[in-house]
Symmetry: D2
């Protein structure tokens, strides 16, 4: 018997990616897809690639109906929707499982419904698997935070870097900005260009990143962890590269390249989706696109005593819908890799 | 028990695509990958996306070893290799199955080995499935021919078009030109440009296309089928759109759009990978990329009494490695869709 | 003394291209730029590339003010604006010269104002220079029509092709679709894809193309000239390639490649911006981008007795703003090449 | 009378850009173009965009002939050529002026020829104009160094940053890697991807950058200036964005955004090609492509007390051939802007 899955906000890019991946997942079936804007249409009218493949019609989002039809629901909705709608769903179906791809619960920890508090988990399984496994509600991480937290976790857990030194220069494909047509996202504005945006500590992902990075610290004095975070927009559809600069603590500066590589390999030794590359192979977006893998190369810059950590993910997969399905697999007690074990496409 | 599969010429783009797809195929395991140029290296040294996923080392191509290790072999090799090597493989292993992705056997029909003649089949299953099913050696079609023959087959079988009127304007992504670094394929030369090439009847796929189109005719007088074929290079990695213009025979000019759409739908009604779109949805490369589907929209241009047929495929999948695996599934008596049932990625 | 120039609709892509080109033109100065949407802003707030280069503020479009400030006005406005506004301008300034980049006057021939009829000219100088020179109002041609008419003119003037046989397969960069943000023009929807649109005789440029092609015919019987026109959208910013297929008249089929090349070279021998390439060099978008040149290669397909003519232009320059300035130079009695004599950029 | 100009290595990308720009320069004429690989061909056979525009034939590089035919020569040649060839040219023509686009003289200061020492100048006019004006031999800066030195010069001259804190994350278009066909530069390898390369202090531009940055320091203790420099390859033809992170000296941390912006504006107040943008407009590659301008936005990150400086140039223009012509204008006592005063193209 297959688990019944609903997707709210099914016509955005993360919704489409969820459906694409779920259609290839042997343990589930899609039973509901909703869209306020496109209710009444067949899904292929929005995405012809699903012609003759997903025959469901899009419906308006209705808590009653969804709560009946679904064992688990993905919310691929704009911010500020899930926080109001998840309590409604829980009232209709107390055991329904919920994975929210928005930022609504990434900082908040609990949902009030049915006269009780439901705990939520921050759904980065490689860091947080135990908490995920026991939660009914998952806050799926942001794409930038995923690429950054995975890259820094081994160093922070080992407590070997200066937490005031973290500088993160991230570059993302355009799908991360969503599907809505905006002047800045017009093909002609993006193509053959490249641009930084929201520099100087203004990006909305910063609290999420700093919060999760601080939790990784095993020492008390956490309050001074502050990152410089500079996102840039790449003229490509998918993928994030984060190039991260940190200073080793003064008494840790003798770390060799081998020690650092080994530290990362050990930290992630049981993690299927994290690949620590040798120092002569750098992460490239083409090597992770359309896959749930995260490639990481940590490098020692001997001239300057800095560490440079480069990570690559597909923002739509490991950075959104793939990770959401990874979380689904965990909370449905399925094999964590199910439906996600594909290699990036080259060309 | 899984079938054992070898890939000769594993480091080209069609080789990489075969391996990517086969790793997700539940009925087979890869037992040999060869490359003259890169023998001795691990596969991920060529394609880091396979890091920790395909651990086989690349070896030199050795008929003896391959014949022992494999039930079926894909030859993703340059033209003129298979015609010499396939007889050697057949001498070492009389029952080995062979799928050649080069053009060596697309026009030739037989292979001599072991004092007998082996028949080959032109591996376009939607047209030729019976022949494929009973053949040990498959000539996998070219990418342009696949996109063109599928688009014209219903009309030719029904004998309703003027066979001297066929004009084919095809546009292909760059992966179709292969992996070798050439001046013309330098990023800067292709990007933000678009160019026709080999116009005026000079492209090497023309005999293959004309030969297969002629076979579809159910009338005797076939000799005058000649196509105008104009390939163009798109600044994208994958995908082919063929826009095809034909004149209906003088006594068939009254065909309505509905009749033509129905003719196509009927012709392909049992074909999973062929989607006939309604006349208001045109094929687009994004809707087939990274998938084995072929989208076709046939259109009646009432002003001029011409038919316009547009088809879209991914040249690396339905136009090469995906179709090769479709052929593999058929000759190994597996479900034809196995390992190939994925939707294109959007974004 | 420099001519004073105004641009109405200055913030669209053709407006920006006009300003870019006019800033490098030694014979003119820009005295007014208007935009309903952005009135009050400085131009660089819309296009930072003009920071510290064009210091004019954008104003609302005001006939009185424009008529006083300008010797010549470009209307880079949506369709249906110029037809109402040009009479107003003529009433305020009887000698003002006007170049309309919309389609308002491409089929119409006259404007009524000041109790008289003003003739307009279809501003394709290579075909129509005399008429342009003596006109006060110029209808600047569409981008597709420019690429097509220039490619077919020599054949139609010589009356050697079957006018029912013309099939035009055009491919355009995205800037041709304008600047407004639309779902279909979102970066992610265009990038790595390619799509036909408005097939089957439905594109709004068809009457313009057929009208101008018919005028080229030197024989009476013109009424049956009907084209098949298939536009496609390329994932690039600029440029159009038109690949055109025609049949020679039955009694002209012996034309050699040399004869056809010579016919084109002779026809355009005094035209600076038209380059007839030898048959071994095909037009490519990169060779005309950011330039006012049109590259044309006519080819004889001996196998099928068809002619294939390929033309390339930059849709923003020769297909819009560059051609508008070429027309300006003519009607202001300046050197026709002024401000337009630049080579395409490679890379 | 026009100055006579020769280009050695005319068929590379910087050579083609030089010729494109020089054809539009009113003060010079091109009298010689050389290429070892393509000698004997017409220039348009390599670049059809010059068809009927540059009629010179390519010749082998001959010191005697060049010394006679040219007042000034650009060397757009691989590293290690100029250092041997420039002394030969000086022996044949003692007053010939020479601009070397390779790295041969960027660190070296003198050339020995004719029994004397010729001084060379590092040709970054905004920093070094006086030295350039009086030199016969110019070492044209590298593309990355140009983007970086211009961004940091105001801070270093004012001595307000910690020189051990400089982290430079640069992103370049592909033309910077040259024209030669390599596997890594194949369209399919670059397109839809993004990759860091030569991380950890290994890029060959580091000594040039550190040398020039150190010269800007007005204090004695310079030896500890060491940069972290991380170049990345963008899937575009042209352009560099450098995002640079520095710490203000402990006693300078109170600098406001206004003070920093003003510091930059004052420093560059007479520099036509440098535009200091307000803090709400960031440099974007599209706003400088095909232009000689450098856009810079300096930003104060108040949360972390760091400065972020973003600069954008076109690597082929301000980063190579445009700057070379700017240097030419200076040493030929022409207006420094001549032939270079064009706005970037949008779209």
């Amino acid at each position: 018997m297959k688990f019944k899955i609903g997707i709210i906000g099914a016509t955005g890019y993360t919704g489409a990616e969820l459906i694409k991946l779920l259609l290839n997942h042997p343990g589930v079936e899609i039973t509901a897809v909703t869209s306020e804007q496109h209710a009444g249409k067949k899904y292929y009218e929005i995405y012809p690639s699903f012609y003759d493949r997903l025959k469901l019609k899009l419906k308006k989002t209705n808590a009653n109906e969804l709560a009946k039809k679904c064992d688990l629901i993905f919310l691929a909705t704009p911010n500020d929707f899930a926080k109001h709608f998840i309590p409604q769903l829980l009232r209709k179906n107390k055991s329904i499982k919920l994975i929210d791809l928005s930022s609504d619960f990434r900082l908040a920890k609990t949902v009030n419904a049915n006269n009780k508090k439901y705990d939520t988990a921050y759904g980065l399984p490689e860091i947080n698997r135990k908490e995920v496994r026991t939660s009914q509600i998952i806050a799926n991480p942001g794409c930038y935070p995923t690429s950054i937290i995975l890259a820094l976790a081994p160093l922070l857990r080992k407590n070997i870097i200066d937490v005031e030194s973290i500088i993160i220069d991230s570059k993302s494909g355009v799908s991360g900005a969503g599907k809505g047509p905006k002047q800045d996202l017009h093909f002609v504005e993006i193509n053959e260009s490249f641009t930084p945006y929201k520099l100087g500590g203004t990006h909305r992902h910063i609290p999420e990143i700093e919060n999760e990075l601080s939790k990784l610290l095993t020492v008390k004095k956490k309050s001074n962890l502050k990152i410089v975070f500079s996102p840039h927009l790449l003229p490509i559809n998918r993928g994030i590269i984060s190039t991260i600069y940190v200073s080793l603590k003064r008494n840790k500066r003798k770390k060799s390249q081998n020690e650092i590589t080994k530290l990362y390999k050990t930290f992630y030794k049981n993690e299927y989706f994290i690949k620590i590359l040798p120092p002569n192979i750098y992460p490239q977006i083409k090597n992770v696109r359309n896959s749930n893998f995260c490639h990481i190369t940590p490098l020692v810059d001997k001239r300057t005593n800095k560490l440079i950590i480069v990570s690559a993910i597909d923002n739509m997969v490991k950075g959104a819908s793939g990770q959401a399905i990874q979380n689904m697999n965990i909370i449905l007690s399925l094999d964590e890799k199910l439906g996600l074990d594909t290699t990036s496409n080259i060309p």
